[in-house]
Amino acid sequence: MVKRTVICPNCKNQVTLQGSSREKIYVTCPNCNQKGVFTFLEDKTDLKTINQSYTIEVNNLTKFYNGFKAVDNLSFNVKQGEIFGFLGPNGAGKTTTIKSILGLTLSSLGNIKINGSDIRKNFKEIKKNIGYQPERVAFYDNLTALQNLYFYSEIKNAPKKDCMKLLGEFGLKDLANKRVGTFSKGMTQKLGLIRAVLGNPSLLILDEPSIGLDPQGVLLVREKIRELNKRGTTVFISSHILSEVQEVCDRVGIINKGVLIAQDTISELSKKLKIKPKIIVELEKISDRIVEAVKKVEGIDKLEISGNKIEIICDSKTRGKVVLAIGNTGGNILNVQTKETSLEEVFMKYTGG
């Protein structure tokens, strides 16, 4: 059990909390009844305020570019401690939204809060807790990897010793004193991620983090994202690689033509779209009798036969009936596999692709 003294963001009253590592507790300030959520983080020993429930709150964001509405009345929230996937086709408004969150573009309308604070007020303080990897990672080419990282760590007031440690973790230690101008795209991409995680930010915003990486690099990035999230970092990922998003994200938001069209967990979105999972039954031998028996089961949407496998699209309640029907015909079932709805299917349905 660990003890933490936190400060109420509303009345600045000090509240002592007790809990175990990674435990998330709901707190009500005894002085002003301000409600909030606090997570006992593994590595952070000095959290100073009660964390709000949402790390990112975007409300009615609208952005015009020369009369063109790039983002239209966009509202969504990213919960504290979650990995949120932000998806959309090219030109949907993803990058504009990210840039607005980071204050890189000045939003035409609406407001954005990070950790409960409006980004238009004291944004410099807010940015101390943000790590960002842009889609197009760029550094100062004349400087070495280490000089670049030292520059950003000084700006962030992060310990300089972490730079070398992180270069080692990402397999770039030998390149520490090489000019970044000589780096390959993959190396620059990894260095970009190191820059983003410098100073252990509580919010990590990643725009296409796997672009240009080899398979090992992709796995490394995924591992790092999970590791940071375990330590309490909220992660916001925009990616075209849907399998990657599905692999790591707790929830996703889908944007199309500047409008947020869906926001939930992948399974909830599938339910809303009434997309049913697929079950694959592997048999020793498929006979007409088995196929007929399966066809008779109510609630089957689609049936396909491939080799000695029957692929059936049906809801979870029907799965048992299918297996039972095959069993009743005397068919010898070797394996039953359920393939959940892929994010790709959900994405295509929502964006009309």
Partner: protein, 254 residues
């Protein structure tokens, strides 16, 4: 705030001082001053600072603005185009701190380049002449640095104003042509128009020349206008474009 400005300035200095052409420029300025002093007269012997400055001021008023403009024209727009500005602004640093940091960093580069180049030459000349007017030579170095800062500040403004690096480059070239070539025609035309071909040059004509930093610089120690007004004019040219750069960059989408 000061901390962030200093960090950005330090980075700019390190990033740009590695460019060999900056070091080469120091050598060029030194050689130029030495050549002017030794080969500037028919006697082929070391001349005093006053003579050296009179000879050297003409090529320097063309060269230093080029250094200032080339150093700064891409510093904002280049970073925006490349993507590093977005990353930098996601860090706890404000846009004003970035502009000020860049001004100080690039200003240090140009000041160091001029100081080393003319400084080395000055020491060599001073050793070889009797009764050197050190004060005058220091004034010349200060004015040269301010001329560099003025054009660097102008290039910072162009870099904030234009939406493409190539446009910013064309912009600073046009500016250089305007101040170094077109301005002369403009002022000459104005003089003829207002004085109807009279022989004496009115005072306002020289005062108006302060609106061009290169001409203001060339007036150093020429008795047309007192030196302190020239220095003040160059200081204004160093600060005003930077303030305009602040105002534009503050409202700019990255």
């Amino acid at each position: 705030m000061v901390h962030s400005i200093f960090i950005v300035a330090k980075k700019e200095f390190m990033d740009n001082f590695r460019n060999n052409w900056i070091i080469a420029l120091s050598a060029i300025l030194a050689i130029l001053a030495l050549l002017a002093s030794y080969f500037g007269s028919r006697d082929l012997e070391w001349q005093d600072f006053e003579f050296t400055i009179r000879i050297i001021i003409m090529p320097v008023q063309f060269l230093i603005p080029i250094i200032g403009l080339m150093l700064g024209y891409a510093t904002i727009i280049g970073e925006i185009e490349k993507g590093s500005m977005g990353s930098l602004l996601s860090h706890p640093v404000t846009r004003n701190e970035i502009i000020l940091g860049k001004f100080l960093g690039l200003g240090s580069v140009i000041s160091t380049t001029i100081f080393i180049g003319f400084g080395i030459a000055g020491v060599i000349i001073a050793i070889n002449i009797s009764n050197p007017d050190v004060g005058l030579y220091i004034l010349f170095i200060v004015a040269s640095i301010l001329l560099g800062l003025a054009f660097m500040s102008l290039s910072l403004f162009f870099s904030s104003f234009f939406k493409k690096r190539s446009s910013a480059m064309v912009g600073v070239i046009m500016l250089w042509i305007f101040f170094n070539m077109f301005w002369g025609f403009l002022m000459f035309g104005l003089l003829i128009f207002t004085t109807s071909g009279g022989l004496s040059t009115p005072d306002w004509f020289h005062q108006l020349q302060l609106l061009n930093p290169t001409v203001a610089y060339s007036y150093i120690n020429q008795n047309f206008i007192e030196n302190h007004w020239i220095i003040l004019s160059l200081i204004a040219w160093s600060i005003i474009p930077m303030i305009l750069a602040f105002l534009i960059f503050k409202r700019r989408d990255i």
